[in-house]
Point group: C2
Chain length 197, copies 2
C-alpha cells in the first residue's frame, strides 16, 4: 500500500496484468474503515431528503497522453497535488467546505496531515464567509468528530505542539454519532454553526 | 477535433508519438477563444483582491490502471460524464455555481448544450439556496452574457423551442464587459442577485 500527499492510498490488486501494470483500486484504508464512503453515503441521504447538497471533489489528474483509436482512452496521466479539500457544497444558501481525515494515532491528531495549500484554501473560504470544517476520525477510539476549520487553524497558529490532543476534540468539536442512514449525521453541527455566524 | 459530452474538446497534436498515441492538449475551441481561461483569470483576480473564491472543478476521470514502478503513473483512464458544472465557490458566504458555454450559433443558444444531469444539479443548487449561473458566449457576436440558471431552466420548462434566441439574452441576462483584469468582470451581476434573494 502506498500513501500519497493527496491523501489517497493506492493498493496493488492481486490481479497482475503485466510486469509493471496492476489493476487499480481506490482504498480508504488510511481513513479508517470507510470515512470517505460514510460521508458520501450521508451526503446522498441529505440530497435525497433535500437537506443539503455536498459533493466529493474529483481527484485532480494531469492528463498527458490520450489514445483516440476508438473512444478516447487516457494512456498517460499523473495524480496532481491536492490544493483544496475533499467536499464542498451548499446548505441553506451557505457555502460549505469539508476536509476528511482519519488518524491511527491514539493520543493526538497530527497537523502534518494537512498541507500548506489546504490551510490557505480553508483560510480563503473563511475569509469569504463560507463555513469550513474538518471531519476527523480517531480509528483506535472508534470516534469521529466534526470541528470548525477555524479551530484547527487557531491551534496551528498559536500552539507550539504539532498535533492536537485527542481529549481536546471534546471541547473544540462535536462527536458525530454513527447510524445506519445517514451513517455520519454531521449536518446538525453545520446547522448550529451556520445559525451562529 | 473531437467534441465530447463533458463539454471538452480534444485536439490531436501534430507530434505523432506512435501509430495510436498522440500528444494531448486541452482546447477551448468549442468555447470561443478562451472562455474558460478568461473566467479562470477573472477568478484569480477576485481571489487576489479577496472579493470571491470561485474554483474550476477538476475534470472527472475514471482511473483503471496505475503503474507503480517509480512514482505512480496512470496508464489507463477514461473521461467520465460531467454531472455537475464548471465552477463553484463562495461569495459573501453564499454558495455560487457557474456553467460556462460558448456557441457559434448567431441566432440562438441551443439547450442541447446542457445535459440532463447538469439541469438536475442546477435545480438542486437553487433548491438549497445557492446561486446558479450560466456564462454564455456568442462567438459570432463577440458578446458574453451572465444569466441566472433559473431563467434557462424556466425557458426549458415553459417554451416549445429548443434554443433561446440571442436577442432574449439582453432581457434575461447581463452582458459582461471584457477588460484586461479581470478579463470577464461577472461578479457585479452575482452581487446584485445575491442582494436581491
Amino acid at each position: 500500500m502506498i500513501k500519497y500527499s493527496n491523501g489517497l492510498t493506492y493498493k496493488k490488486s492481486k490481479t497482475k496484468l503485466s510486469s509493471n501494470k496492476v489493476a487499480f483500486s481506490f482504498s480508504s484504508a488510511n481513513r479508517g474503515m470507510n470515512l470517505e464512503e460514510d460521508i458520501i453515503q450521508s451526503n446522498e441521504y441529505y440530497l435525497r431528503n433535500k437537506m443539503a447538497l455536498i459533493y466529493k471533489r474529483p481527484t485532480p489528474i494531469q492528463v498527458v497522453k490520450v489514445d483516440y483509436q476508438k473512444s478516447p482512452k487516457i494512456t498517460e496521466a499523473y495524480f496532481s497535488e491536492k490544493s483544496t479539500t475533499d467536499f464542498n457544497g451548499v446548505y441553506q444558501g451557505r457555502y460549505i467546505d469539508i476536509e476528511a481525515k482519519s488518524t491511527h494515532s491514539k493520543s493526538s491528531f497530527p497537523l502534518s496531515n494537512i498541507t500548506k495549500k489546504q490551510f490557505e484554501h480553508l483560510e480563503n473560504v473563511i475569509e469569504q464567509g463560507g463555513l469550513a470544517f474538518f471531519i476527523i476520525e480517531f480509528v483506535k477510539h472508534a470516534k469521529t468528530y466534526i470541528v470548525e476549520a477555524r479551530q484547527i487553524i487557531d491551534f496551528k497558529n498559536n500552539e507550539e505542539r504539532k498535533s492536537i490532543p485527542f481529549a481536546q476534540f471534546e471541547e473544540i468539536g462535536r462527536e458525530i454519532k454513527r447510524g445506519f442512514s445517514p451513517r455520519l449525521d454531521y449536518l446538525p453541527f453545520v446547522d448550529e454553526i451556520h445559525r451562529n455566524s
